[in-house]
Symmetry: C2
Subunit: 115 residues, 2 copies
């Protein structure tokens, strides 16, 4: 199996430093990682529910991301479906402010006509 979630202290995609923050950025910097954490923050979801909320991301990618996030102790799979672990919830609490900020960002983006 070709599956290597970035682990702090190890070699990972695009990051040879092994610094925790870089391993984290490597993990979060993959498609749908952030989106998955965001969608799971509310309550556990089944694979297909999650897929629906992530704009029907392909099962290939969704499954790969879920494996990585589980191996990274951020997500687990219980009887309710996929959900955030305690660590995952901690991380989400850091992520939550991005929601509000992004709206402000979008506004300034519209003001600035240069795009």
């Amino acid at each position: 199996m070709s599956f290597s979630p970035p682990k702090p202290g190890q070699l990972v995609r695009g990051s040879r430093s092994g610094k925790p923050i870089m391993a984290l950025f490597d993990l979060l910097g993959r498609s749908w990682s952030l989106g998955i954490l965001w969608q799971l923050s509310d309550k556990p979801l089944t694979f297909r529910e999650l897929q629906n909320r992530c704009e029907n991301v392909s099962p290939t990618v969704l499954n790969r991301r879920l494996k990585e996030l589980r191996a990274s102790l951020l997500v687990d799979h219980g009887s309710q479906g996929y959900g955030l672990t305690e660590l995952g919830q901690e991380l989400f609490s850091l992520l939550e402010p991005f929601g509000r900020w992004s709206i402000n960002w979008a506004d300034r983006f519209k003001q600035d006509g240069s795009n």
Copy 2:
């Protein structure tokens, strides 16, 4: 030119919703986006300095990311080199707590021998 930074309110890679948070996640979910913001937080850097600090990411990718981040109003290019805009600094302030958290995450990761 094939270059499409995700814009809130528009169609973007992997995100058809146009919701600001999804546009932001799309932008940040590209390789080295988070790392670049992290490295620029301290002070402006030249292209090559930045490249060095990002583990010698290829100029192809670095330049693509910088274009996107500039178009997204998070980074600009002045006489000192590349630096964070005001918006970029705001975003960094949200990102900063990840540094500390990632260290804790790494610790728990080591404790958990399952990997």
